[in-house]
């Protein structure tokens, strides 16, 4: 519920308010995209925490660049069928995965 509100706000931000700060993000994915992906894949509090950390790092004192969300999950209920992939979970060991969005994803 709270996640949905936050995601709605982020979508609104990306559509309209992002013009105020266009092309200023030092990262890929941009802070707002990163935040959306965090909220869609991670737990609420972790998502909030990582979003804040990301925004604090988004200034000239840090290098920026590629910074994908990283989540720790136990994968279970694995189904073997054809699905429409939104996020690729790239394992980095220790049950952690990098979240990389599928560019060709369409709802």
């Amino acid at each position: 519920m709270i996640k949905k509100i936050i995601l709605g706000f982020l979508a609104f931000y990306q559509k309209f308010l992002t013009l105020l700060s266009f092309g200023s993000c030092r990262f890929y994915p941009t802070c707002s995209a990163y935040s959306i992906q965090q909220f869609e894949t991670n737990s609420l509090f972790k998502a909030i925490y990582f979003t804040i950390i990301r925004i604090l790092k988004c200034n000239q004192l840090f290098n920026g660049g590629l910074d994908y969300p990283k989540v720790k999950v136990n994968l279970h209920n694995i189904q073997y069928k054809k699905i429409n992939v939104k996020y690729w979970y790239v394992p980095t060991g220790n049950k952690q995965y990098l979240i990389i969005k599928n560019w060709n994803f369409k709802k």
Binding site: L19, Y28, L56, Q60, N63, G65, L66, W103
Partner: protein, 544 residues
């Protein structure tokens, strides 16, 4: 296919245009249909209020119901029908305080020359038909009724603090009880008061209903209480539906935008009740039995005036929920103002100061830009290769930047930091009496009001447009690009009604951003020329 695409593009442009017109219409309508009628109603109320003065006071003098251990005292109702006369008039260096025949402060007139209304008249704090400071109400209904029929006797009809602190005694003799108010008036306009009632009566003292000089919808007005634990409780007008009790209160202040009436005691904390009036606006009643010592102040919420009484009283100046940042902002502005002497130039200096603080960041950005110049052919290559997929091109760019250890972007944090700075200046302009009627230069005579000739907002819009022109951006989405170009227009529109001080801040801020960007751009251009020559000589060498 192609045709379809074109159509949808046109369509979306049309929609943007319609959306923009709609929002313009909305704001104009909002101003005319909502804000202005409110103002009109308010003005009308003012007019009605001033009429009732002459016909006499007609209000219900109800003591708040306080549940004590044995019984709940029913609130007595009394009507004052007679016109109350002034029994004593105290002149201090800062104000004239008039005491009426009920032993209340009937009116406070501010004497300092900066406190005048639009017509150049001295400001009188209180509306005629409201609860007055130092009104005493008894829990006992019969006693309360009797008290409102008994005039007080003042020890002196006229006092002047020219020769130091003056003492005034107000005595009210009822059949069984005698009420004595002993007041000390100080040259700085504040007072100490001791209220003493014989025969163990329970009573209430009030700092009065809030001043009614500037109570509009742009800033809060109501009551603020400071508690022993340092927190503030704020109850806005028309927001209180039932009586609420508090204990451990350090001060109670009833305030409008710029003025306040406060009762405080920092030695022994107070117990108070907030009782709603007919409009659900809070009225403060301080609980007392037999005897109570208080200090009071009624006047402008001027930071230095309040701090000279007690540092804690400065909390009576409240800037809404941005106080935690607006107050430091005000102190910074005040500090600089002491040297500059003009609030407009102070804002300009603070803008420059903020830019200087952020300079190390911008500098790092510029160095990065400098490095970038050597890499621009490769960047072009990437952009060319992925020009149809902006997500992919963004990712590839970032990969490239990281590899080369450069990043031309400013970052989200510096932009987000602008928001609190912006709002704190806005709140300071709105709530600080020091900035009311503060001049800058030329045509700006009041930084807290909008620019009467719309010059600053238009300058602001122009600087914003220029800034956009010289800032390189690789916006690929046509729709966003269009909106982006309209941004200066939208901003100019918004800023038309903003306080001139705020527009000034944004204008100066833009100017410096442009200067910075211009510097970076010239660096870029120089590097390009150098590279081009390098390239040519290289070619030349090859030929040879």
């Amino acid at each position: 296919m192609n045709k379809n695409n074109n159509l949808s593009k046109q369509d979306s442009q049309k929609r943007i245009f319609i959306a923009m017109i709609l929002s313009f219409v909305f704001f104009i309508a909002y101003d005319f249909l909502y804000i202005q009628p409110q103002q009109a109603v308010y003005d009308q109320q003012q007019a009605v209020a001033s009429k009732t003065t002459t016909t006499g006071v007609d209000n219900k003098n109800q003591a708040p119901q306080v549940a004590n251990s044995t019984n709940t005292n029913a609130a007595p109702v009394t009507k004052i029908t007679q016109v109350n006369e002034i029994v004593s008039r105290i002149t201090t260096n800062k104000n004239i305080i008039e005491i009426d025949s009920f032993g209340r402060i009937a009116q406070v007139t501010l004497l300092e020359e900066q406190y005048i209304d639009e017509d150049g008249k001295q400001i009188k704090l209180f509306a005629s038909n409201q609860l007055r400071p130092l009104e005493v109400r008894f829990s006992n209904r019969a006693l309360n009724e009797e008290a409102f029929k008994t005039n007080v006797v003042a020890s002196s009809s006229s006092l002047n603090t020219k020769n130091g602190v003056q003492t005034l005694t107000l005595t009210q003799k009822m059949s069984n009880n005698t009420l004595v108010k002993t007041m000390k008036f100080y040259p700085d306009g504040h007072y100490d008061i001791n209220v003493n009632v014989t025969n163990g009566a329970e009573f209430f003292v009030t700092p009065g209903f809030r001043p009614d000089v500037m109570a509009d919808m742009y800033a809060d007005h109501g009551v603020v209480l400071k508690m022993n634990d340092g927190t503030l409780t704020i109850v806005e007008d028309e927001d209180l539906d039932k009586t609420v009790n508090f204990t451990g209160v350090k001060f109670a202040s009833a305030f409008d935008r710029y003025y306040s009436t406060i009762l405080y005691n920092f030695k022994t904390s107070l117990a108070i009740s907030l009782m709603p009036d007919n409009d659900d606006s809070p009225q403060v009643f301080i609980h007392a039995k037999d005897n109570i010592d208080l200090s009071g102040y009624a006047g402008p919420k001027n930071y230095r005036d309040l701090a000279s009484l007690n540092k804690e009283l400065t909390d009576a100046i409240e800037y809404g929920w941005f106080t935690f940042i607006a107050k430091p902002m005000f102190l910074l502005l005040q500090y600089i103002h002491d040297y500059v002497g003009n609030w407009g130039w102070t804002i300009v200096l603070v803008t420059i100061l903020i830019k200087l603080i952020l300079y190390p960041l911008s500098y790092k950005g510029m160095v990065s830009m400098n490095k970038l110049k050597e890499l621009s052919p490769k960047i072009k290559e990437i952009q060319e290769k992925y020009k149809n997929d902006k997500q992919k091109s963004g990712a590839k760019m970032m990969e490239f930047y990281k590899k080369e250890g450069v990043n031309p972007m400013g970052g989200c944090l510096p932009i987000l930091l602008q928001i609190p700075v912006f709002f704190s200046i806005y709140r300071v302009l709105l709530n600080s009496i020091e900035l009311k009627g503060a001049e800058w230069a030329f045509w700006i005579t009041d930084l807290a009001e909008m620019d009467p000739y719309f010059v600053l907002p238009i300058l602001m819009g122009i600087t914003m447009y220029v800034q956009q022109l010289i800032t390189p951006n690789q916006m690929q989405d046509e729709l966003q690009k269009k909106l982006f170009q309209f941004l200066p227009v939208i901003f100019t529109f918004f800023f038309l009604w903003f306080p001139a001080g705020l527009t000034l801040y944004w204008f100066i801020n833009n100017l410096f951003t442009i200067a910075q960007q211009y510097y970076v751009n010239t660096l870029f251009a120089k590097a390009k020329v150098a590279r081009h020559e390098d390239h040519l000589s290289h070619k030349h060498n090859k030929k040879d």
